[in-house]
Symmetry: D3
Subunit: 262 residues, 6 copies
């Protein structure tokens, strides 16, 4: 979808909603309709979420605008994430709903700002942003973690991602997933999630292990060993229970799994 087409779709959707629902009209005008670019909308809306007595909404808005201007990958990722939610979540019928109302989506975009601050060496401010994300969205992504684009973080409640975790592009992750470490040694100690992986609700993936490209992790699984590409794992602890039926389980969002081998 072209950059302009996405922005125009969002504006059209929001214009219709503003006309139908006067109680939200000024919120929608203030947040979306009066802006010239999607970047401005993102800076405005995320700053609404992160504002607190410790950090003024205007300062946050300018900080986010600065991040979006300095690192174009952030907006590319946000655009890809909007399209991922629209495409993969059947409860999402348009492009503006995740932007305005889905807290998994919003938490992920706030992380992207904290991650940019971390990369600039502003660790204390990044930790403050993370603290706000954890309070507002119940999501805890360490600002040093690396996360690609085209991510669907569905609901997101309880999502925990460690400092050295990596999530590649086009991954779908349901609620209550942990990408955690193991042991008290520092260094590289968190999972690496490769492209196209689907991680079911409540799954815990622990340690510096790889979940291979196109793999599927069943809901409620506890993964303690590397997962090969294009397989399904399930169970506590997780075992391979089948070959993954399609190249990108993240796209298919099929959470059914075969029975584990008894």
């Amino acid at each position: 979808m072209s950059k302009d087409a996405l922005w125009l779709s969002i504006r059209d959707e929001v214009s219709r909603t503003a006309a139908e629902e006067p109680m939200l009209a000024s919120f929608l005008h203030m947040t979306v309709l009066r802006h010239k670019t999607l970047d401005d909308v993102v800076a405005f809306h995320l700053s609404s979420k992160l504002a607190s007595p410790t950090m003024d909404a205007r300062v946050l808005m300018e900080l986010i605008s600065e991040a979006l201007a300095a690192d174009p990958v952030i907006m590319q990722s946000i655009r890809a994430d909007i399209e991922a939610v629209r495409s993969r979540d059947p409860a999402c019928k348009d492009f503006s709903t995740p932007l305005l109302f889905f807290k998994g989506f919003q938490a992920l975009q706030c992380y992207r700002i904290g991650n940019w601050l971390w990369r600039q060496g502003r660790h204390a401010l990044a930790m403050h942003i993370q603290n706000r994300i954890s309070e507002v969205f119940a999501v805890e992504i360490h600002p040093a973690a690396r996360i690609g684009k085209g991510i669907l973080l569905d609901h997101g409640t309880g999502f925990v991602v460690g400092e050295t975790a990596v999530i590649e592009d086009d991954v779908s992750i349901l609620q209550e997933v942990t990408l955690g470490g193991t042991g008290k040694e520092s260094g590289d100690r968190h999972p690496k999630i490769r492209q196209g992986v689907l991680i079911g609700a409540g799954a815990k993936i622990l340690g510096n292990i790889e979940v291979g490209k196109g793999a599927k992790v069943g809901a409620g699984s506890v993964v303690l060993k590397a997962v090969p590409p294009h397989v399904t794992v399930a169970g506590v602890p997780a075992r391979v229970v089948g070959v993954c039926e399609n190249d990108s389980p993240a796209e298919q969002m099929d959470h059914r799994i075969q029975e584990p081998l008894a």
Copy 2:
């Protein structure tokens, strides 16, 4: 319990608390004691929880009052839910505590307002309410889901309920439960939970499957297939591990399960 008896009990309890704890006296007076009906208390207290810079507490209070007046089933359900918490949660010794302080209860009642809005076709406002529920309570119930009365939603953190899910009357649900979909097709795709079911903490139930009347789903289970009535299922993935010992496990709140067949 008669309608009046419940309201009088709540008033009595709150009067005693207001006399004992002056720091909460005005809160209790403002929220409970000055009102003439339980409906007014509900409208006032839920609007306190949902208010935000986007939506004024007074507008929300009037909206909730409008919903309660238009659809009497909402207040019937709220009354039944209060009695369910009081009866089934041994940590709950009175009727006013869930109303005032239990976020699982409050999140469920806020959903009932969002659901009424959804049924009126006010989808954007319903999504806004759901967004607030997700931020304040860490609960995500799609406003189109259908939920009966006499529900105990204990704690509620992480509760996720999909668009086409159904929960019948007299169900008890612990924290971190998912009633999710599977696949990216729209249409009827979420679980149907029949009367009297008990769902343990952390259970994930996925797909358009039925959990039969009086069944029990063990904590941490991942349910991917229909569950017959009056059985206990447990495990990842869940299997039948026994017959359910009583007609309404939701009433008994006995989370013990037999060992799965090895």
Copy 3:
């Protein structure tokens, strides 16, 4: 670590941060640098978190100061918890970060205040504090539960602890853990967690059962029976899968477990 050494380390760390990050300078000065004791910092910062239209930040600050003065065990526990986070969480490189930014840590300390109120017989105020903890941190610890010192509550999202639960000293608990009851009878009905235990992410421990000293509960486990000291349990339901490799798994934070016996 001596009492003074901890306070001096925190001041030093925060002074450096305030100099580097002017956006946080007044927050850090107001919250930490202008105070003479760590007790004052705790009273100030926790009151920032718990404040709401129902309860003014100044009243909460004075209430917390009163609790800290009346029961010295609270500050001893808070100091031990800070050192526990610093020592066991490899993502935590200093002493001030958990104090300022980690919501698991903050939720636990707010519980300590609510627990003191409960012990004074101020149950309604304790429930109000618990309600705020549940909204701000998505943590639900019943104020009557008893929790020792040297606790690492990592992230904490979804943590649920019942009324008669006990957690002894030097325990580490990851996110989404439940220490729950079973059945609808009141009385002693929740788990007893002995010293040095490590509880992995998502574990559910249900009923009046003991998890013995130095035991390890694997991530995602559902524990329905007592766990002997110095063993590892895992699975749904949990079984003994090995002897615990060291005396204090809480210190080691090693979440790897052996395969369960098939």
Copy 4:
């Protein structure tokens, strides 16, 4: 003007403004357009002004509604005041502007609520309302003072009215006017302003003296003696400087005065 005609005019004006100025659309919808009666608009808007951490906007709104229902003279007075502003203030081109934006008008209507509370014997609440009026509008009208209808309080800044003052119908009062007492004895000690009087900016009228029907008090005058009907007084101290040219100087708003007799 009929009761309905005023309300319809206000709605029409506000509808046009909401369409032209999206930044104010939700404010206007929330405050005016969604309501069924002018009474509801008054209760909503005045409660917006008086709300503070001490007194919730919803409680104030219900209190104001209660006052308006109990004493119909209040709304009659408010309607007459709106028409007075519209008719006498050439800068006011419609009916909705004083209601929405003129602080002199709003302060006077808030006084009417405080006065009703005073008459119910709720003196502390009336004093709280007066305290808020003084902070928000810089207006101090003792809640026991008696004020008629058809009053234009233009700007209102610094307006001070004592406990036993009386203002009859159809009076116009500019900013910085004092109707004060003299001496430290209690009892009837403040001015009585008869119908149709015009009081210019900065005038001070002190003591239990009468300003007769249709009189005019020049700007900056200090009035220490009774003023006969239908004369103009001016100066420090004020003297009669002429006959009042028309029956109702309050209607004419002509602040010109003859030279005092030297």
Copy 5:
């Protein structure tokens, strides 16, 4: 009145009000009843008034407590001011009303805190306090001005006091009074108001001139020359119009004046 007697009277009055008016009960408990000393009440209530997004209420409360402890004259002055209002203002029937609800009184006490900061060399913080006083109370007293005790500042709206002004003990000042400078030279350039003076509403006193002990300045006067002790001045510009009938016009509050000599 003894120190204890005043505090006990205030507590008694407030206890009665809290029992009668439940809407204010928690405000009164929080602000007055839970405190052990009048100093604590002052620190709490003034910090409620001065709090803003720039300066947290808790920090202000501690700053005010610090000022009251460091300079006992401040509390002596506040106590004397309460008694002055009670004694001289016939609309004030008790001791708690000025403390809780009179903005002239509150503005004066906030100035005393700003003045203490100024004397400590903390000029920027003193200017911030003055800025808040000007916004909340519409009062502008330069923090370097010197003001004695037993002052009645009635209403206070528009009160302006310059940097080098002095007000001695037992002075009564009505609303809209200016003690201003003249010319653009710095140095001592503002009025000196001696003991027992009464200044009527709207009076402007300009320049480094003395208003002698026991003098009375009529309402609306413009004073440009020194005023001898025990005379009454009035007019624009002010002239001596009589001998002052009693030793302390501030106590008598008699605003009547003789006619100026024509």
Copy 6:
């Protein structure tokens, strides 16, 4: 003073204050030090003052920035006003204090934004801004009034300016001044204040009359007839009492006047 020199002076002053007063450090950083231009500082600080539940601070900030960019005369006027305060007010020892802390100055600059909105035809928004100015600063300048640059509005409390008033450059105006209309006819009906005029505290100037270049209006005067250039008027009503001693009384700020001719 060159544009850059003023901005550099302000930054230097504020940097010193931020180093000395940590309680204000983040406020000063947020409001001044992090910005690149004085325009940004103005947009940020005025939006702090005007923000309310009706209008978000970020929207106001962007609106103010838009106004400053569209009409360069606004910033020229603000710069000239800062220099006027610094030059004419002996209590003002630097350039940053009026900008940060003087409400007369701030109210005037907020009017300039409302005036720009009025000139764009956005009358409702201009009235909303004026309503906020009146509540925050107790100043009421009709947004259609025309005001030049180099204005000292000292304190400003009670300042009232009508719709068709004109204030030319280099005028000084003390508190409680009215530039009002007379009569109820619309059309040009307010005073015209020519260059260099000084208007003393409490003066009321009424009607479409001219106060000539370099004239001085004494404190407390009531001006009902045109004032020739370079004279001093005083009294109620005002008469010519002398020739003005210097070309620009606004610069000299000498409020002394000759005695009126008896």
